[in-house]
């Protein structure tokens, strides 16, 4: 797995609440059996019209950066990990919101995509800054658990201590579980 430490970049701002995983990656793109190539399908129905022509009112157009800043309740809906794969494949390293849907959050963490949860107040402030100055560089420091945006100040964010270590060292849950097979089999002997 990749590692995360400090992420510093301009941000892609999509100030819409309740962005669901059907928006992030529409279901018709889930028929493939590999993990590859979902980046180009990211927010597909926002980017393109029904006939495949670019949508001039695509909220992402013209924005660049590896940090996505979205409205409240990001990633709600379907459990499809394809949403996290698409964001990661498109180059995103972190998503900032005032709340994340549980399954999306786990999927993101399992793909080295950092969900940064800030207060609604801080999200409002950084959204205002990014709207007026789109070139602002946002810095997320996982070690210090801080996000800073010039003009909006710095905020702390929470992350599970175990998950933080995994992200910083590139460990994955499955390696941990596989190393614990003895305990798992002991549990089975006791319970079944």
């Amino acid at each position: 797995m990749d590692k995360i430490d400090i992420v510093s970049s301009t941000a892609v701002l999509v100030p819409v609440d309740n962005i669901d995983t059907d928006q992030i990656i529409p279901a018709r793109f889930l028929k493939t059996v590999s993990r590859e190539g979902f980046g180009e399908k990211l927010f597909y129905d926002w980017k393109y019209n029904a006939d495949g022509s670019p949508n001039p009112s695509d909220p992402l157009s013209g924005q660049k950066g590896v940090i996505l800043v979205a409205g409240n309740n990001f990633g709600c809906g379907s459990s499809r990990e394809h949403a996290a794969w698409a964001l990661h494949d498109a180059g995103f390293k972190a998503v900032v919101s005032s709340s994340f849907a549980d399954i999306f959050k786990n999927n993101a963490l399992n793909n080295c995509l950092l969900p940064v949860r800030v207060t609604e107040d801080y999200l409002d402030r950084m959204t205002r800054v990014l709207k007026s100055a789109p070139d602002t560089v946002v810095t997320i420091d996982l070690g210090a658990q801080t996000i800073s945006v010039p003009g909006a100040g710095e905020a702390k964010f929470e992350i599970n201590g175990y998950k933080k270590e995994c992200l910083m060292k590139g460990y994955s849950d499955i390696d941990y579980l596989l190393s614990d097979k003895e305990a798992i089999m002991a549990y089975e002997r006791k319970h079944f």
């Binding site: 100030p15 819409v16 609440d17 309740n18 669901d20 059907d22 928006q23 529409p26 279901a27 018709r28 889930l30 028929k31 493939t32 059996v33 590999s34 993990r35 129905d45 029904a50 409205g71 409240n72 309740n73 709600c76 809906g77 379907s78 459990s79 499809r80 990990e81 996290a84 709340s99 994340f100 849907a101 549980d102 399954i103 786990n106 999927n107 399992n110 793909n111 599970n160 201590g161 175990y162 998950k163 994955s172 849950d173 499955i174 941990y176 579980l177 596989l178 614990d180 097979k181 305990a183 798992i184 549990y187 089975e188 319970h191």
Partner: protein, 460 residues
């Protein structure tokens, strides 16, 4: 301090606790389907591993399957490939698989309980957010991503942090035209689409006690639509009667011993929840949604409000623009182009009984396309054995074959752009039922009314 039902099941499944981290949680049942499993099987193979506990793993194909002509090969190449891959992967790992056309086939969350795979007091996971359905039997059931599917395949465990807990109590008696779907749509409209994020919800009170198992499944199914990790209802004699005699359920003395254990699956009187909500059954009426998340709901004779819980103005405006609706408009009388009865939310026999009863002796509206999609082969066969098929055909309806169908339009059952569909499914997100499709979520009775009148209206 007492424990909740959730606490008891969770503690019973903790293999070990990681300091300052999650618990290693043992998983009793792993349900899989063709969309979220192939990448997990591939990753397992790359590591040189096989599925650790294939006897705890069950598979069905549902998302990609056509709902007509299931006896023929699937036309769409990528859909066919996904289904074929599931057959290969399950065979290679010794997993019970219900292929297309098999009497056990159907939507994963309909099949699990129907086949007696899902019991009580268990941990149940599936790479599908509507896994919450199985909480209806007193289980900790939740959806997971594909990396987690791989973890369960490899170790029968997940690393999970214990969520917060909420209790939703609904007391009183529901009116005759109010279905379990209306109950959950009402709750979500009150709490918002992220109202229970980070929480596991126990449903309790008179309304859920009086509800059938099918109804409890409908309610638990949509827990995820208010952000909850899952929903749970304490099991009772109705639960045990439902499980009794099913194919994979314990039988004889083993069943009796299991029931004796399951009797204890309840929340202690002095248990404390992080949050508690109370509603009155008398306030709940047949519901419809008007927007693009399941929290944007009103009674079927209500008007579109000025705003919704958990929705800022820009988001609300965007939703109404997508739907082609305006604030203050009545929902009743709105024209409907499509009606979809089915999905893991409302594709069970009870839903077909309700729909058939409501349309009996009436005729399908000529300008409405109606897709009636059973949730499983077993539901399909019951529709015929109970005589509902004759009632439905006499009213001008056709019954399709089981699958997820228009709920997420991965197969050919897509609602065309701009069209209005009254759907008994679970999500009205933009594009969910097809590019540009406009979804109005409702229960089977409102769907029946729309199917015969071509309009939104109050069921009798």
């Amino acid at each position: 301090m007492g424990k909740t039902l959730f606490d008891k099941i969770w503690e019973d499944h903790v293999v070990k606790h990681i300091p300052d981290g999650p618990d290693v949680l043992y998983i009793d049942r792993h349900l899989i389907h063709e969309v979220t499993s192939p990448q997990a099987f591939s990753a397992l193979k790359e590591k040189g591993l096989k599925v650790f506990r294939p006897d705890r793993t069950f598979a069905t194909c549902d998302h990609n399957v056509p709902t007509l002509g299931q006896d023929r090969p699937i036309e769409d190449e990528s859909s066919r490939n996904a289904v074929d891959r599931l057959a290969e992967n399950t065979a290679a790992n010794g997993i019970t698989y219900f292929p297309l056309g098999d009497p056990g086939n159907g939507i994963v969350h309909v099949v699990g309980p129907e086949q007696g795979i899902v019991l009580c007091g268990q941990t149940v996971v599936c790479g599908d957010s509507h896994t919450a359905t199985h909480g209806a039997f007193g289980n900790i059931a939740f959806g997971i991503g594909t990396s987690e599917v791989e973890m369960v395949m490899a170790t029968q465990c997940l690393l999970q942090s214990k969520p917060k807990q909420a209790r939703i109590v609904v007391d009183g008696t529901l009116a005759g035209n109010v279905t379990p779907k209306d109950v959950i749509l009402y709750i979500i409209s009150q709490l918002g689409t992220d109202g229970c994020t980070g929480c596991f919800v126990e449903y309790s009170g008179e309304v859920f006690r009086n509800m059938s198992m099918e109804g409890r499944m409908t309610v638990c199914n949509m827990s995820i639509e208010m952000g909850a990790k899952g929903g749970i209802v304490a099991p009772d004699s109705k639960t045990f009667d439902y499980i009794s005699g099913r194919r994979f359920a314990p039988a004889g003395d083993e069943f009796r011993r299991a029931v004796a254990r399951w009797q204890d699956l309840k929340t202690d009187d002095d248990a404390v929840f992080d949050r508690e909500y109370r509603f009155d059954a008398a306030d709940i009426r047949p519901m419809v949604t008007y927007g693009t998340n399941p929290g944007m709901g009103v009674p079927a004779d209500g008007v579109i409000p000025e705003t919704a819980v958990g929705c800022d103005k820009a988001t609300f405006d965007k939703a109404l623009a997508y739907m082609g609706f305006r604030r203050g408009e009545p929902m009743a009388g709105k024209k409907v182009d499509y009606v979809f009865l089915g999905s893991c939310t409302n594709g069970r026999i009870e839903d077909f009984r309700a729909f058939a009863k409501a349309v009996a002796g009436r005729k399908k509206a000529p300008d409405v396309t109606v897709w009636l999609v059973p949730g499983s082969k077993e539901v399909e066969s019951k529709i015929e054995s109970e005589g509902l098929g004759d009632v439905l055909r006499a009213a001008g309806f056709e019954i399709r074959q089981p699958g997820c169908s228009a709920c997420l339009a991965m197969n050919a059952d897509k609602i065309p752009a701009g069209m209005y569909a009254v759907s008994t499914s679970n999500r009205n997100f933009e594009g969910r039922q097809g590019y540009g499709a406009r979804t109005i979520l409702a229960g089977p009775l409102v769907a029946a009314e729309a199917a015969v009148t071509g309009r939104i209206g109050m069921p009798v």
